[in-house]
């Protein structure tokens, strides 16, 4: 991302919007400037800030005049008053930053937007996490820290050394030069992204071993790690296997994503139907 020097009026709103804190007002030019090494090309500034398209010269003049009167001209905090943000033409390897950081960009390896994967979300169709298995999503970089691929590689190689299966349909896996060893391709190792998710599947019995490995590695890498653990419920909808293991490791289970198992091989054909009322649907 770049900020047009011609358009920027130095209001500073984009400095707050930047997810990585990579934008600052240069004291010499008094214009917003992007630290491109820290910018992850998430486009939060470009897509999230509203645009006013005010004439830059008029805004600068107004700001100058008002400051002489001890007054300030402040646009709403989520506005770029002069539409000064300009996306860069991204080429390899920098384009990887956007693929992982901008949720509106579908990742070619999964077809899912952003860093996302399907995990247990469609498990009733995909059987991605089978009975007796546990799926780990190991996410790096959130909240507000970011991660470089060489840091992710520390984790992927440590887990691969344990002989675990790294999930193939995952954006991080697509960046590996050797999935067996967890090695990520050399040309992107220093690229920084807002977050990325490493995904593995192991038998339930290995849950504790994996978590202890994650704990050991996350202490060595300068980012934040957040773990998700997905598994199948039993026939009466209870989950009595993995939760006790997690609790024995000291976790208090509060929040979860619950798949209701409503997916079918045939999606309901609705093109020719007229909507039914709530009462009709529920009592049908």
């Amino acid at each position: 991302m770049k900020i047009s020097e011609e358009k920027c009026v130095g209001c500073g709103n984009c400095t707050y919007a930047c997810t990585m804190g990579a934008i600052y007002i240069d004291p010499k030019t008094r214009k917003a400037t992007v630290n491109s090494d820290e910018c992850v090309e998430c486009y939060a500034c470009y897509n999230g800030l509203s645009k006013e398209h005010l004439p830059p010269k008029t805004v600068r003049f107004t700001r100058r005049m008002m400051s002489k009167l001890w007054l300030r001209f402040e646009p709403d905090p989520d506005i770029c008053p002069t539409d000064a943000l300009v996306p860069d033409e991204l080429s390899w390897p920098r384009v990887v930053r956007r693929a992982f950081s901008d949720p509106r960009v579908p990742h070619e390896s999964t077809g899912v937007t952003g860093r996302g994967t399907e995990e247990v979300k469609t498990n009733e169709i995909s059987n991605r996490i089978a009975v007796g298995m546990v799926g780990f999503t190991i996410e790096f970089g959130r909240p507000g820290v970011g991660v470089r691929f060489y840091q992710i590689q520390e984790m992927s190689m440590a887990l691969a050394a344990l002989g675990v299966k790294i999930q193939p349909k995952n954006p991080v896996t697509a960046m590996m030069s050797d999935v067996e060893t967890g090695k990520i391709r050399d040309d992107i190792l220093n690229e920084k992204v807002l977050s990325a998710i490493l995904e593995i599947t192991v038998p339930v019995e290995r849950t504790e071993e994996i978590i202890r490995t994650v704990w050991a590695v996350e202490k060595k890498i300068d980012t934040i790690v957040v773990l998700g653990v997905g598994t199948r419920c039993d026939e009466d909808g209870e989950e009595r296997v993995v939760a006790p293991i997690l609790e024995s490791l000291g976790y208090t289970l509060k929040r979860a994503k619950t798949n209701l198992g409503l997916g079918k091989l045939q999606i309901r054909e609705l093109s020719n139907e007229t909507p039914v009322s709530a009462k009709e649907a529920v009592t049908a």
Binding site: K51, P103, G111, V112, V226, G237, L262, L265
Partner: protein
């Protein structure tokens, strides 16, 4: 969709937070056109008082504004969600979501969605107890569960807990901690109303999973320093 899963906060803080989303499986595993079913999902949600709806490609119900001429600078910007623009703009099949702030609305919606039998995968991201309550109300059992183990090394009682609670409500990380902090500070200074602060944050969420009711509550709590 770990973006809906890992929200910072205690279990109690999710009392008004139900993110329910629908998606088709990838890779041609299902037959039929998912687009009408996904759109129906959103239309049904409107009957149960959602506080946000959205699709992962086009955004939620409160979106950034774009002025066409300079005089609009003096006009009021909308702070209320525009649900119809989400439904009208729903495009390619992706993840569609609806957010509810009360147990009654969420449970009634899930009951209805089960009855509609759309054939899409439906997930609830909320506290474990909230999701179990929805399943019980709808008379179904859980198929799979994905636990959030929380942000490693970040406890429930950190000093910037309100900022984290707000910024992690966009799991894609589009809501910066700096902006969340600024919104809290501006409300504390009475330079901004909680509604406007919430709308400003909502506009950065690119898939409509931000919960403005929970956000407003958190901002109010931060103003009064209630933990």
């Amino acid at each position: 969709m770990t973006n809906t899963l890992h929200r910072y906060g205690t279990a109690e803080s999710f009392k008004d937070d139900y993110v329910i989303f629908a998606l088709p499986a990838k890779g041609g595993a299902q037959k039929g056109d998912p687009k009408p079913a996904l759109k129906r999902f959103l239309e049904i949600a409107l009957e149960y008082n959602p506080v946000n709806i959205g699709d992962a490609m086009n955004g939620g119900a409160t979106r950034p504004t774009e002025h066409t001429h300079a005089l609009e600078h003096f006009a009021k910007r909308p702070t209320k969600p525009d649900f119809q623009q989400v439904i009208d703009g729903a495009g390619d099949p992706t993840t569609f979501s609806a957010v509810f702030a009360t147990r009654e609305d969420a449970e009634a919606f899930v009951t209805r969605i089960v009855a509609e039998d759309l054939g899409l995968s439906i997930n609830i991201s909320s506290s474990i107890a909230n999701a179990l309550g929805c399943c019980k109300a709808a008379g179904i059992t859980r198929h799979s569960v994905g636990y959030s183990l929380g942000f490693e090394g970040i406890q429930d009682n950190v000093p910037n807990r309100h900022v984290l609670s707000l910024s992690t409500m966009c799991g894609h990380g589009m809501i910066s901690q700096s902006l969340a902090k600024k919104m809290i500070d501006m409300v504390k200074e009475n330079r901004l109303s909680p509604d406007k602060a919430t709308a400003s944050l909502s506009r950065f969420c690119s898939c409509g999973i931000f919960n403005p009711v929970r956000a407003k509550r958190i901002i109010e709590e931060a103003r009064g320093k209630i933990f």
